[in-house]
Each structure stands twice: as C-alpha cells, then as structure tokens.
Symmetry: C5
Subunit: 323 residues, 5 copies
C-alpha cells in the first residue's frame, strides 16, 4: 500500500500524493520534499519505487528482507536506515518490534514496513508542526520520524521498569510462587535484552547522524539529532541498570529459596526430635519386661504423660534458643 | 521561583537581583557575572528566561524535562550541563537524586531545578570566597557549583560503605535474619548502582571540561576542574570496589546458607538415628513373643535402659568423630 | 581433486578446466577469471598449484594445515582468506564446521578444503548469475562465495534458536528430566560458542574487505561486501543474545531445582509430623501402665482413633495455612 | 616533621639539611638536588613549604587530604604524584596502605605522608647508591623511590598468593570449617581487590612516566621507569589471576557444600529406612492380635531378630549398590 | 653453562663456539651470526656476557631474575624478549613453565634460562634448515626459536582440551565422585588460566614484531612472524573457549548436584511415609484398649498385614504418579 505526502518547503504547505507517477512528478519540482510510505509492498511495487528513485538493488533487497539490524548505510545518492518501533503486548507479555526501512534522499524519504506502525501518523503531525519551526528540508522529516519512534520507547520501558520493581517486591513479600516468579523474571529479562539490542545499534546510527563531519546536515539540524541520541542513550542506560538489577534479583531469589529450605529443615529437625523422644518414652513403657516398677504405680501413667510433656517443652525451648 | 546574584568581576562585589528585567540589565554591563537560579519554574518563566538569554529552544525543553542523563552539550553561545545532587534518605533507605540543569554562557550561569537543592546556598558562599582567590569570570562560579555538588557525594558514599561493611559483618555474626539481609543487600547494591550511573557520565562531563583543547577555560581554570574530576573518579572507584564486594558477599551468603543447611541435616541425621535405634530396641522388647527370656530377668528392664543409653552414647561419639 | 572454472569477463561466458596446465594457460589470457577448487589435495598437488600461481610457501603451508582461525592475510600478489562453513549434525547434535582456505589473486581464486562443501556448487550458480549483474572481475566470485557461506549460517542458527526456546519451555513445563536438560543446555551453549568463534573473526575479515582504503575493491564492490558484513553481524548478535539467554536459563533452572527441593521438604515435614504424632498417641496407649482408665472404656478404642483422625486433620489444616 | 637531604649532583656527595630555610638556600646552588620529607606536617608547615617552593595551592591541599587515588598531575613548574605503600597486617589479616604525596620539581622532590613509611629509608640508601651509577638529577631520586615502593609489593603479594593456595588446599582437605573458610576467602579477595586498585592507577602513572613524549626524562631514564612499570604490571597480572582463581574457589566450594549435603541425605535415607523397617517389624510383632502363631513358637523371638538383621543387611547392600 | 653456535650468513655454514672469547672474535667477522645459549649462568658469567655484548645492566638484571612477564623491550642496540616454554607434568597434573630471556642484537641472539629447555635443540635444527630457505640474518634464528616454542604449546593444549571434554563426559556419566571432579575441574581451569596468561602477552610481543613500522625486519621476515602470531592467537582463542566451557561445566555440575539431592529427598519422602504409615497401623493394633474387636478375629492378624501391604502399594503408586 502506497501512501505519500509532499511538502513545498518554501511555502510550507502539504499535499497528499496517491500514485507513484504523481510522486515522481512532484519530485521534479525543486522545492518539493516527498515522503513515500510503503506498507507491506509487493516485490514489484518495491522494484518500481526502486527504479523510480534510482535506489541501489542491494538496498531495495535489504528493505524487502526482515530481521535486519538497526543500521545506517551510505549509498551513492541516498542513505538506507533501518530502525525499529517497539510496542508492549499484554499476554503473554512480550515486545512486538516492527522493522522500518528508511531511504533518505536529498529531497525524499521512503519508509517501508510490513506491519502497521502507528508512529507514522504521529510523525506526519509532528512534521507539519516542525516544518514551521525548523529550517532544512528532508532532515526535518527524518528528525520527526526518528524522534517519534524513540519517544514511543519510553512508555514501554517505564512499564518494564515497573514490572521489574514489582518482581523485586514479590521476592520479599514472602508469598511468591516460585515457578511463575522465575518465569516472569526470565521473560522480563528477555524483553530488556531485546530492547537493549535495538537501542544499542540505533545509538550507533544516531552517532553517525550527529557526527560533525557528516555533509548531510547543517549545524542546526545536528542539535536535533543530538537530542534523539540523548533519548536513546537514556533508554540504553535504563535497560542496563535493570538488566543488572534483575540478575541480582535472580541471585537473591536463590539465596532466599535456599534459606527457606534451611528454615523448613530446622523446623523438621525440631519437631521430629521432640516427637521421636516422646515416642521412644512411650515405646520404653510399652516394653514387656516383668519387673518394671513404675508400671504399677497408681499415678504412673499420669507421671509418664507429664514427663513427656515436660521433656517436649524443654526441647522446644532449647531449639528456640539455638535458632 | 527566580533568584539571582550578580558579581562585578573587577570590583569583586556581589548584589542580589530580584527580577528578570533587572538581570538582563545587569548583564548589559560588561564586567558583570550573573547567576540566575530557577526553582521549579513554570513553562512560561522558562520561556521568558530562554528568550532573554537567547537560549536554544531544544536546550530549554531539555531543562524542563526530568530524567536527563548527566551531560554537557555545546550550543552556539552557551553550554548546557546536567548534573545530579545526591542525598541519603533514611527509611526506606534510598538515594534522593535531584537533577540540576545548568546553562553556562560567557558571563552568566543559569541553574534550573524542580526540587530544593541545599548545595546551592553552599555554592553561593564558596563563590564569594573563591572569587577573591581565583581569576576568571563565570568559570569560578561553575567550579564552585560543581565542586560543592561532588563534595556532597562523599558523606553519602561513606555511609553506604559503612553499611556494606556492616552487612558483611552480619554475614559472619551467625545471627542474621536471612530475608532482611538479602533485602538490605539488594537495596544497597541498587544504591551503589544509582550512584555509579550518576558518577560515570559526570566523569565524562568533567573530562570534556578538563580537555586542554577546550576554548572555554584558561590553563589556570583547568587545574580546578581537574581536581573535581579527580574527586568524581574516587567516587566511581569506590563504588566499583563495593559493588564487586557486595557481589562476593551475596555469593558468600549462598555458601553459608547451604552450609548451614548441611549442618542442620547432619544434626538431624545424628539425632534421628540415635533415637530411632533406641525406639527400635524398645519396640523389640515390646514384642509379644512368648519366649523372650530377658523379659523375665529381675534386672532386665534396667539392663535394657542401660543398653539403650550405651548405644546412644556410642553412636553420638561416632557421629562426632565423623563430623 | 582439482576442479576449475574459467570465465571470460568480457563475454561473460564460462568454461570448465580440467587440468592445472590448462588453468595456467587460461590465466595467460588477460580477460580470464579463474576459479580453482582443490578438494583434499595431496601435498604435491598443493605444491604444484603454489608454484604455478607463485603462492608464498607459508600461505601454502597454512592452507594444508587444519584448524586455522578465520582470517585474511595480505601477501605480495595475493590474499589468503580462511573461512568456515557450518552444518548442523543431528545425533549427537553438534556443528560440523569445514575449513575453507581461499587464495585471492588479481584474476584467480583458489579454494582448498579437505571435506566436501556443498556451498561451493551453490557458489558456482550464484557466480554465473551475478557476473551478469555486477561489474568487476574476481571480486564478484569472492562475493558469491562468501555470501553463499554466510547465508548458510542462518538455517543452522535458526534451528539453534528454536532449540534454545524449546529448552526454556521445557524448564517451565514441570516435567523436565534434569540430567538430560542440563546436558542439552550445555551442548547447545557449546554450539553457540562455536558459531560465535567463527562469526567473530569472520566479521573482522569482512571489516578489512569493506574498508574504504582497501585498494582491491572499487566503491561498487564495497556495497556488496558490506551486505555480507551485515549478515555476519546479525549472526554474531543473535548468538550473543542466546548465549546470554541460555545462561539465564541455567540460573533459572538452579532456582527451580532448589525450590522443588524446598517443596519436597515441606511435604515431608507435614506428612512426617502428622504421622509421628499419631504414632506417638498409639505408642502412649500401647504402654503397659496398670492404671490407664481410658483403656477400659467401652468406646476407648473408637475414641482413640477419632482423636488421632481429628489431630491429623487439624495439623494438615495448620500446615496448609502455613504454606 | 621535616627531614631533608641534599645532593651535589656533580660531586655526588650528600648532606643532611635540618630546616626549611637551609633547604631553600641549598636549592639556590644550581648543582643541588634536594629531597624534603614531611612526616605528618601541620597545615602551617605545609603552607610554608608550598610557599617556599611555589607549589600550587590546589596541589598542597591535595597532599594534605587523605584518600587520593594514585595519580600524576602536571602543574606549571612541578608534578604531583600520589603513590601508595602496602604492608601486610597480621590479625585481622588486612593490608595497611599508606599514602605518599610526591612533589617533583626540576631539582627537588618533596614527599608528604601522615604515617611512618619504612620504604623511605631504603630509598635513601638506594639513592646514594644509584647516584653513582646513573646520570640525571632528581629523576634518579624519583626512580629510587618508586622502585623501592613497588619492590615492597612483592613480599605482600607472595604471602597473599600463598594464602590463596592454602585456601584451595583447605577446600579439598575435607576438614574445612565452612564459616571461617568463607570469611577468610572473602577477606583475602578484598585484599587482592585493594591491591588491584592501587596497582591499576599506579600502572597508569608509570605509563605517563615512560611515555617517550615526556620532556622530563631523557632516553636513559626511561629505561629505568620502564622497569618499574614492568614490576607493577606483574603485580596487577598476578592479582588478576588470583582474583579469578578465588572466584572459582568460591564456586567450587558451593558445589562441594551441596554435594556434602547430598551425601548426608543419602546416608540419612539409607539409615532411616533400615531402622524404620526394623521398627515396623517390631511394631507388627508387638500387636495384640489374639491369633499370631509365630508369637508362640519357641524360637519365634530369635527368628524375629534374625529376620530383622537379615533384612537390614539386605537393605544396606542394596543402598551401597545404588550409591 | 655456555653453548654457542656461529653461522656464516653468506656461506650458510655453522660452527660450534666453546668460549666467550671465541664468540666475541666470531662476532668481529661481519658475516657472522652468533647464537649464545646460557644455561643457568652464574651472576659473573652473565656480567661478562653483558660486558662483552654491551648489554644494558638493567636488561642483564632482568634476565637474571625469574618471573618476568612475556615482553619485548627496546634498548639502544638490542631488544630484550622474555618468552615462556610450556610442558605438561603428569602427577599432580600441572604446567611446567620455563622462562627464556632473549637478547636480540643486530648479529647475535643470546638466550638465558635456568632450566633445561628441549625446544632449544629443536630450534638449532630448524635454524640450520631455515637458513637455507630464508634470507636475512639473525631474524631467521629468532623466527626459528619463537616458532619452535609456540609449536610446543599445541600438544599441551590438545591434552588439556581432551581433559576438559573428559570432565564434561564424567559430569553426565552419573558416576562421578564429586570432590575429585571439582578438584580436577579447578586444577584444569588453573592450567588454562596459566596458559592464557602466557599467550596473552606473547601475542602482544608478536604484535610488536609484526608491526610494519618496525625497522628490524624486512617485509619478507614479517610474513613469518605473522605466522607465529597466528598460532599464538589460536592458542589464546582455544583457551578462552574452554575456560568459558569449564565455567558452564561448573554451573551445570551445581544444577546436577542440586537435582540429585532433590531426587534423594523424594525417595526419602516416599519411603518414610510408607513405612511410617505401616508403623502407625502396627502401633494402633498394639494399643492396650480392652475393647478392640478386630484383635480377637481369627484372621485379624492376616488382615492387618494385608491392610498394611495394600496401603503401602497404594502409596507407592501415588508417589510414582506424582514424581
């Protein structure tokens, strides 16, 4: 599905474009900035666009393959960027990551993706707003896009941070069901890892974009991309903090489990010994020796029960002190 | 809330300033150094200040957002620094970190923060004192500010170090309550991690400030910032040492817990076996066989008890030796 | 076994070559690109080829030794590359890695290997196809070869990723047989490690190949090798993700094992105490004291059994609540 | 306490100096090299020395504060070095580290420390000896000092290495008392960590000193400092080896503790089951059923005991085989 | 013990030299390359050689001290290299490392060692062989020496790799004796660590030797040292792989030990509960209540035993299902 938007960068007005032919025509006007969005395009559509914009076949092939890493690659007349959007999915809790290939030419930007990406609508709004404030042509659009994408990481990350804190609280609440705890922890760790592996290379991409030697951007635009760079750095930092913290939580969990076992065993020790001592006494007075004088005492039985009770209490006191 | 202080750098005298208009006027005098402190400013106040000092909108927006990372960013006519102050909070023990955005111009310094920061008053005192000793204009103020902030890390860090040592002592005191121990350890580790994540990027900021190629500072001022750099390095070093040490403590704890379990089980083994052996004897002599000659001996009962006692003692001796 | 293919790079037609002599002759024609494949060559064959192509003795010796690391080495008139192909073997599951030594001259490429490598046939097809699309001589062949090799990593890697996910599911399925689980996990980890140790140095090789200062390649060819570089980076990244994940799985397993032990012990505690309490009561009423009034009650026995049952139920309720 | 030594670098003769005034006078003679040692100086003494040698106030302040990191800092006319001496303290075993601040001028060296440092006397002897062999002025003194300090690390390190080996032997001796073992291991690890944190930055200092671009030293002197650098590298290497080894020891300990627990439990399993089986038999023959023919057999009792013994032996055999 | 060999690099003929005087004389002839081997030399011998070859006293001192790190140091007219040979010792299994100091002058190479090193004889053979093939003077000798040393690492490493694999097999064989397993694993890990700490710095040395800016070697010689570099890289790589693998083995061992404990406990749980239930029944029918009708039934006893057997079987079935 092809969707396009053209912007006259002098008059700062926008116009929808509905076909590739129209888009090519628009690009012929020197003041026009064009954004072409391809949602789940067929191989043919992609080839056509590639041909129309003189995109390198290798770059077009990259855009049609999934599971690239976030990257930026320089070609003759354009750059190819791969970025990821991230959304939290509720059950089972996992991250839905969508790949977005971006062709950045001098006056056009082409986005290719195989899944619907809500960030793109937001980008459109930001672009129309930003175009009034910022100079520069297609760079404003690229900035609007990347900024929107990275901004959407924060609600996802905040939710994960909350879950990490909740997990830790569960650890000390004394009522954790171990198996689900470990499972949740492992799954959360995986989500942090996933986010880390997106944020890491994207930071490198932004590092390239904010490099002063980059001929694409003027000094002014650099500041904006530095801002996005800063955001992605915060994502990476927070992820690192919580990955470390989750590892500690896992270790702490092991200590607590081992210690619970210890407590259980102490209780067993104490209880068994008390009971077995009493049982031994009962066994002794149940022996069939002929001459066992206490068996014939009137209060023998009462005395026996008392002895048992007293010894039990004494043992319990001793165990309590030892604990 | 706006608070400002101006300093005539020739005559080295200070004067309070109470409004933004006055501040702008003060800045018009070429010898004046101005410090503007904005406590919890509204968006409008911030915009006004931004306009008055020609601050870049992106920088102003950064200052109004929380949760930046410590950083330094160069803009056309000023630098934006983000630094953190740290305070220990007693219960639950955690670190209160306050963000401080600093705009550093040629003759002004603007601090923006949303929480009260006691370090700022101390900074004022140090500035008035330092201005007599050190040459250079706004740099003396910046040095006074950063030095005060970093100096305040040490009492916090020292308290954490003490807690780490106390935790380790608890580990070997033999009387630790495991769950609270693990919880305290985990919380302390988190505090060290938090401090590390502040000290790390701040060190980078100071690295930039002490870089000889930096046109902002003269050779003389460099020495001072190198001193602050050195302090932050010590913070980072100590934090690293104790994070490592806390991990070892966690591991040691697991060994000790496992070993305690082992001891408990050995005790149980010994005690159960002794008791069950005695109970078995009692059971044997409690059997109802017709021909059990010892049951009819006069001293059979006494002998039985003696046998039990002797076997128990023997077993206990054997177990003691085995241990 | 020698197999060779020559390509007239102007007319883009291919021809089989069957002997070394013929190959040398082919190379004399300036438009010819030659691919020589040596499968399990004898020392003599290798020497002959080395002499015919003026290969350095050290490079020839390297090619005849196994267990080199992936590498690229520059010699006077050629490069020596070592690359690895990877295949999954079913039982016992392990990776079969085959070493491929590649001599890259200005107009020839010589591959040496001691095991059959199916990727080579695929390479031949790709070369004949690519030669029509891409300019440049032997570089197209090298690209076809390396691209084929690296592409073959993905099915292997995908299978390993699936196994890693399956292992994790087994962990929480509650029905895992521990010993085989640990064994599988350890073996899988080893396979990831093996793949990592191939992908890491190969990435470095491709880094050299895509270096702009490299005189071997024109700008155009660089793009292609950058694509291969990107693929190998993805392999390395995925491997790192899953090595980390497998470590977490191993840790989680330990927690779960410890916790299962805990549960077992709790059950034992509860069951033993209930039973021993009942046994104690039976022991008490089995004592031979003369005056034990309840023994003579008509419903004494029934009462005794009732008391035992009631106490057992009470204890079970208490234990359930404690859990 | 001020102590000073002057050396005429031409005549190579030494002379004690007793006051600051005398020291200043000595320095006026162009051939004189002066070593000033300040032991636990008052703030005033330090200020006086600072003024007399034109030391930067920041450097003087650094020297009066404790807990600096090992470092080298360049000032206008001198360098400030901070180095540490290390001594082993017996009980509780820990490292006593003493800080030594060193001001290195063109013709003077000032050492400041707050604790007695035996290495300084040794340094004096080495200086007088070295001055005869080596050219160059104050550099010979600095070399003598640093070399002496670093040489003293080796006996301390060797003792720690021995303790690490002894700990490992204890681990497998089968007679370790766990709590003290873990405590010793943790304390030893901390000592290694402390030494590491001294050796690391000191290596960096020596790296600066051996840097060829350093204008302070001639080619000849470089060789000597490279030797010290080499020694400190060996310290750092050995420390890293044993820190790694101690971590493995800790892990191995956990395995052994867990396994001991396992053994204990197996023994308990075997012993309990044997005893409880016997007790069950005794209980059965202690039942009060009217018709239990074996109770009336003449050899019933003997047979019962025999049955118990035989079953016990059989069970023991089975358990031994299972183990 | 002094042993020397001279080689006329033009005529490529070799001659034994028996005294230092002769060696000096030989060196006077411009075409001569001299190899001097000092086995366990006295301080005096070393001094004499040092004087004869104008070696720097610091370098001579280094050569007489043991426990240097592998290194290369440039002096005025020569290089000092320290390398290590490695041999496997059988019982207790450990690595015997021998230090070899190498003075490399323009036309001489002096080796100093305090233990017999079999690699040196091999080196002599290789030198005489290589000298015929390779140009260049003393460099051929150095190459022959280093190549021989590094080649000898491989059999040692291969044996260690085999032991690592054997350890892993023992882990899953189900018949491991834990203590010796852990001890072997720890000892093997230490051996890998030792080898790593030799290979690491030696790689750095070879990095220096293969550096193109090095004036010592011509382009041709570089290729040879690059080959040695490659070998040492393989050693380091393999060591890293197996150190990682041994850590995983240690972790897996802990999981298996914990799980074995779990199994043991489950067996205990099942067995105890079955037996105690039976014992309880026996205890109940052993009570002395007057009115216990079943005691008087003719088949009461048989029924009781049947009940016990049936309940035992039922419980065992339940436990089997639960497992």
């Amino acid at each position: 599905m092809l969707k396009a938007l053209r912007c006259n960068s002098l008059e700062r007005c926008f116009q929808r474009v509905t076909s590739l032919a129209e888009a090519r025509q628009a690009l012929a006007e020197p003041q026009t900035i064009l954004w072409l969005d391809l949602f789940n395009p067929s191989q043919e559509e992609l080839q056509d666009v590639g041909a129309a914009f003189h995109l390198h076949p290798l770059a077009v092939e990259d855009a049609s393959h999934k599971h690239q890493r976030p990257k930026i690659e320089e070609y003759d007349s354009f750059y190819l960027l791969v970025f990821y959007t991230v959304q939290a999915e509720p059950s089972p809790e996992r991250l839905r990551v969508c790949e977005l290939s971006i062709f950045l030419g001098e006056r056009y930007l082409i986005t290719v993706h195989s899944e619907p990406i809500p960030e793109l609508e937001e980008t459109e709004q930001r672009w129309t707003r930003n175009v009034r404030q910022l100079e520069g042509g297609v760079i404003v659009l690229l900035y609007s896009l990347l900024d929107t994408i990275v901004d959407q990481y924060f609600p996802v990350l905040d939710a994960m941070v909350e879950q990490a804190e909740a997990l830790e609280d569960r650890l000390f609440s004394g009522e954790l069901r171990q198996r689900s705890f470990t499972q949740d922890l492992l799954a959360l760790k995986k989500r942090f890892l996933t986010l880390r592996r997106i944020a890491g290379p994207e930071r490198d991409v932004l590092n390239v974009l904010t490099n002063r030697d980059n001929p694409l951007f003027n000094e002014h635009a650099l500041l904006y991309f530095r801002d996005v760079y800063d955001h992605i750095m915060r994502v990476a930092d927070t992820v690192d903090l919580y990955r470390d913290q989750l590892s500690s939580t896992m270790d702490a969990n092991l200590s607590i489990v081992s210690n619970d076992l210890n407590k259980t065993m102490r209780t067993l020790t104490a209880a068994s010994i008390v009971l077995v001592v009493d049982a031994l006494l009962a066994g002794i007075w149940g022996m069939n020796f002929e001459y066992m004088p206490e068996l014939h005492w009137t209060y023998g039985y009462a005395l026996a029960l008392t002895v048992m009770a007293v010894i039990s209490l004494l043992l319990l006191l001793i165990f309590r002190r030892l604990r």
